[in-house]
Amino acid sequence: MSSLRTEGLTKSFGGVRAVDDVTVELRDGAINGLIGPNGSGKTTFFNIVTGMVRPDAGRVRYRERDITRYSPHRVAHAGIGRTFQLCRVFPRLTVLENMLVAVRRTRLRELLAGLRDTGEIERARHWLRRMGIEHLEEAEARDLSYGQQKLLELAAVLMAEPDLVLLDEPAGGVNPALIDRIVGLVRDLNAEGRTFLVVEHNMDMVMGMCDHVIVFDRGAPIAEGPPDSVRQDPRVLEAYLGV
């Protein structure tokens, strides 16, 4: 079964075709990479898939369901979680509160139940422990370092139990030790059955971590395949190096 599939996805901003007739399919259960030069439409593609931007044309299917017109929270309920390019957490909520915002199913009783729901708090602590930031649960998110906030953002996304996780530049602005840690986490989470789609400029990270890489240029995919073959592809070299 395919995980996420798009058909003829198109979106223009003014006269610019940010995403141009994109038909791609992610490998289910794999770590998929999405690379391309700046402005090649990667983030717009993310935004369309997650319902934050309406496409002009085309379809998004997830597990055989058409989610093209879904609002972002329904996309999340369908099982797709995402992080943002410049890490977004709720700055004036505590780390634990940040974790308890996520909602996978809307059941009125659960929503009105207290934040003291011990089951949910245990689940939150479990994820915080895996990220190595459980000692910060009482701190306000704005007091965390940038790297800690990135880990918190990922932990909060995982609270919603996504089957597919979209990561927008997970290595951006974090130190090498933390990059290694994030790669390790993504591999572990993937081994547990979660599919990933990672947008990243750090080529070492993409080539070392991904099973399947899709290359975008000027709003459309120009190549895809295993990292080794993509790396040698003349179209990719041309897009990146202009040769």
């Binding site: 609002s71 929270h73 709720f90 509160e97 308890l100 809307t106 930031i133």
Partner: protein
């Protein structure tokens, strides 16, 4: 710390209950009832404003509708006041759901403008619909307690408003401790991010909007029964709406008791200015000036100065990485 604040709350509640008996004259009972009414209304306003950050300057629309709804049910349909009050409040809440669906689509300054437009429209409708509402000459509502003299009526309404305040405070506290409340606060911090985490932000905002309207409408209904005379220009004024905003901001929108504290300061001050300066518009200028000063210099309110943040920026930057190395090694 928790027992101290609980003790303080109990002490304040006891003081509030004793207040009408301690007040040397009925005027001060009247002023007290007015203050408690504003406290209940600003606490209610804070269910929307404090949690979601959507600043409504038009909440007096729900105050006025609650007042006119109760008054009209009593006067035109001879409904007993104890039935008219909740029925009117529920009708206003249902109306607020409809308004909310449209209003919370816009954020920031646009939402403020929409809320102002709402109260202006309600004012014009009630003034214009003379056959039903009596228009600008107002609506006379008979007292629910004809056997009591004016002073005793003030005492009864003091306790009714106090009960309303208690319910509003309990509601705020319960929402604050629920996941619903965490979602509302997340909307205030970053609405799109909250959506991406699966929070149905539209439904959350409408629910907060309607809940907030409910208690303001109840306050309006009580006001109609208490004053016995409704003037559309007063009950649908921006002033009442701005009072709710000012009180909440002054006391602190992130705190349960913030709006209550603000009301305890602003409402008596307003009464004082009214007496000291007479029936002029100067007290309005004073209100506006205080609102500007609060927004400029104390946007987090008084209580924020007294409550220490649980953890400061003293968390060492590298602690996560050190821990990571600990995990790796």
């Amino acid at each position: 710390m928790r027992t101290v604040s609980r003790g303080l709350a109990l002490l304040l509640a006891a003081l509030a209950i004793a207040y009408p008996w301690l007040a040397p004259n009925y005027y001060l009972v009247y002023a007290g009832a007015l203050t408690v009414m504003y406290a209940a209304m600003s606490t209610s306003w804070n269910l929307l404003g404090g949690f979601t950050g959507y600043v409504s300057l038009g909440h007096s629309a729900f105050f006025g509708l609650g007042a006119y709804g109760t008054g009209l049910l009593v006067v035109r349909l001879d409904v007993p006041w104890a039935v008219a009050l909740p029925v009117s409040a529920l009708l206003v809440t249902a109306f607020a759901v409809g308004i909310g669906v449209a209003a919370v689509r816009v954020r920031g300054a646009s939402f403020v403008i929409v809320s102002i437009a709402l109260v202006s429209m309600m004012n014009l409708v009630v003034q214009g619909w003379r056959s039903l509402t009596g228009g600008s000459t107002g609506l006379q509502v008979p007292s629910p307690f004809p056997g009591l003299h004016r002073g005793e009526t003030h005492m009864v309404f003091f306790y009714l408003f106090l009960a309303l305040l208690g319910v509003a405070l309990l509601t705020w506290r319960h929402v604050s401790r629920s996941r619903f409340g965490a979602g509302l606060r997340a909307i205030r911090e970053d609405e799109d991010k909250a959506e991406s985490l699966g929070v149905p932000t539209g439904a959350y905002k409408v629910a907060a909007f309607a809940l907030s309207a409910l208690f303001v409408a109840l306050a309006g209904g009580l006001y109609a029964l208490w004053f016995g005379s409704l003037d559309p220009i007063f009950v649908f004024s921006i002033l009442i709406g701005s009072y709710m905003v000012l009180m909440s901001l002054l006391g602190g929108v992130r705190h349960l008791y913030g709006p209550l504290l603000g009301a305890l300061i602003v409402a008596p001050a307003g009464e004082y200015f009214l007496i000291a300066l007479g029936e002029t518009q100067i007290h309005l200028t004073a209100t506006g000036l205080v609102l500007v000063l609060v927004v400029l210099f104390m946007p987090d309110g008084i209580l924020a100065r007294f409550t220490r943040r649980r953890a400061g920026p003293s968390i060492p930057d590298e602690s996560a990485d050190q821990r990571l190395q600990g995990v790796a090694g």
